[in-house]
């Protein structure tokens, strides 16, 4: 068909873009679309795309169906039962969608301009001297979902015992005990803490940390009766001790 407006087929992201271009190129009034003509042109374009082995998205096919349906409704006589003003133009929905689409295209251009302007200015956050960062990232829900998928895709680790160096310090261990006690309303069995640190060094560090905490009156170890489980509970100085001492001070004493 020689009279087909020349438009660049691959330039259309979707059917609405293609339709808008057809309308614009032919200076058609969007409020009075010659639906037969536009439908014919549209379908012809789809054929051409097919001939060129272009991947035609479902949305393009759906639009062709919509156009053909509108065309056939236009040919029907108006509904005699419909009251005045009730018989809607079959094109109305389509026109509305085209306008809506055009509207957001302009909005997108406006955004683009704003963003280009904004790119000409710089802001230099200089927080470095006031807060320390340890290669951590600000994360969103999206990052979370991505992380999960990446974990699942990772090849499974070789089985077998992993021997790792236990690096926990007394101060860190004290911190861990504090955390455990802070989160729990009741006393914590000593054994539970021991299980978290099954290595020899881990147990020694835990023991030292508990001695220190008991000495500082931050923690009290209790036993209901002989040979019953030893329980750890917050003591009177719990909050005071942890509000004060910094880990490095404690580390200096033990390392």
């Amino acid at each position: 068909m020689e009279t087909l407006p020349s438009v660049q087929l691959e330039a259309y992201e979707g059917p609405l873009d293609l339709l808008l271009e057809l309308i614009r190129k032919q200076e058609i009034d969007i409020f009075n679309i010659p639906i037969a003509q536009i439908t014919q042109q549209y379908v012809e374009f789809l054929h051409r795309m097919e001939q060129l082995n272009l991947d035609i998205a479902a949305d393009f096919i759906l639009m062709a169906a919509t156009l053909i349906q509108i065309k056939s409704r236009m040919m029907l006589p108006p509904d005699p039962l419909a009251g005045p003003g009730e018989s809607e133009d079959p094109r109305a929905d389509l026109v509305q969608r085209l306008l809506e689409h055009e509207k957001f295209k302009s909005a997108a251009q406006m955004l683009q301009q704003k963003q280009i302007l904004e790119q000409a200015t710089w802001s230099k956050p200089d927080l470095a001297s006031f807060a320390d960062e340890k290669g951590e990232l600000v994360v969103t829900l999206w990052d979370l979902a991505r992380a999960f998928r990446e974990v699942l895709e990772r090849p499974p680790a070789p089985s077998g015992l992993e021997i790792r160096k236990e690096e926990i310090t007394v101060a860190e261990m004290m911190e861990e005990v504090r955390r455990a006690l802070r989160e729990s309303d009741s006393a914590i069995p000593l054994l539970e803490l021991c299980k978290r640190h099954p290595t020899r060094r881990g147990l020694i560090v835990l023991f030292l940390a508990l001695l220190e905490l008991v000495r500082l009156e931050a923690v009290v170890a209790v036993q209901a009766e002989l040979f019953s489980p030893i329980l750890l509970r917050k003591h009177k100085m719990f909050d005071v001790v942890f509000a004060g001492a910094t880990p490095s001070e404690v580390n200096e004493q033990y390392n």
Partner: protein, 214 residues
């Protein structure tokens, strides 16, 4: 603390802060200064930073205050910027998707698809990746699709104090009608009023243009 020192302190805080500094944050972090006074001092600070001999100004963005170089010096300044954020390059489909989200938020993928007429998954993934949009729960309807809204990063990257600051959709509607409704040669006044009156209604729920309130 006097007004002079308060302004100096606020300038120092804005200078070191990574995020735009909000009045709320200041009210919490600067003791014994009422909000009214904070606001007044901030206004004065913004005003003073516009002086012609200043190259760095304080602007309101994403609901807070932040320091920026003035745009007019970008050519020379660019040469001295070492660690700069990678420039934001968005394709038109991504920008259009972003526009739909900015105006219709919170909005679901299927709703965006309906407006744009094409599948937007790839644009959504790009926008999520760049942190310009975030998820905002799920819509309580069939399929419980994920809702999206624009992020603070979006406001910062586009230099907006708030999404309300964007031109209203109605303005774009008029543009669209003018661009597509006027037949060449026809007088502009009569063209849009012409046929199909049934479709002349404005589109769904736009926010009315509201004066920006700080």
């Amino acid at each position: 603390m006097g007004r002079t020192e308060l302004k100096a302190l606020l300038e120092a805080i804005i200078y070191v802060s990574e995020e735009p500094v909000t009045v709320d944050a200041l009210a919490k972090g600067v003791r014994d200064v009422p909000r009214d006074e904070l606001r007044a001092a901030l206004d004065e600070l913004v005003e003073a930073s516009h002086a012609a001999d200043r190259g760095v100004e304080i602007r309101k963005v994403a609901g807070g205050y932040r320091m920026y170089t003035k745009a007019e010096y970008h050519d020379a300044v660019r040469r001295f910027v070492r660690s700069q954020r990678p420039p934001l390059r968005l394709s038109m489909p991504a920008l259009e998707t972003l526009a739909v989200i900015a105006y219709k938020q919170p909005v679901t993928g299927p709703e965006i698809h309906a407006i744009r007429g094409v599948d937007c998954s790839s644009a959504l993934a790009t926008l999520l990746d760049k942190g310009l949009i975030v998820t905002a729960g799920r819509k309580q309807c069939v399929g419980r699709p994920i809702l999206y809204r624009t992020s603070k990063e979006f406001l910062i990257r586009f230099g907006l104090s708030d999404v309300d600051e964007l031109p209203t959709l109605k303005e774009f509607e008029e543009l669209a009608r003018a661009a597509l409704g006027e037949v060449e040669g026809a007088p502009a006044e009569t063209a849009p009023a012409e046929p199909a009156p049934a479709i002349a209604e404005p589109v769904a729920e736009e926010k009315p243009a509201e004066p920006e309130h700080a």
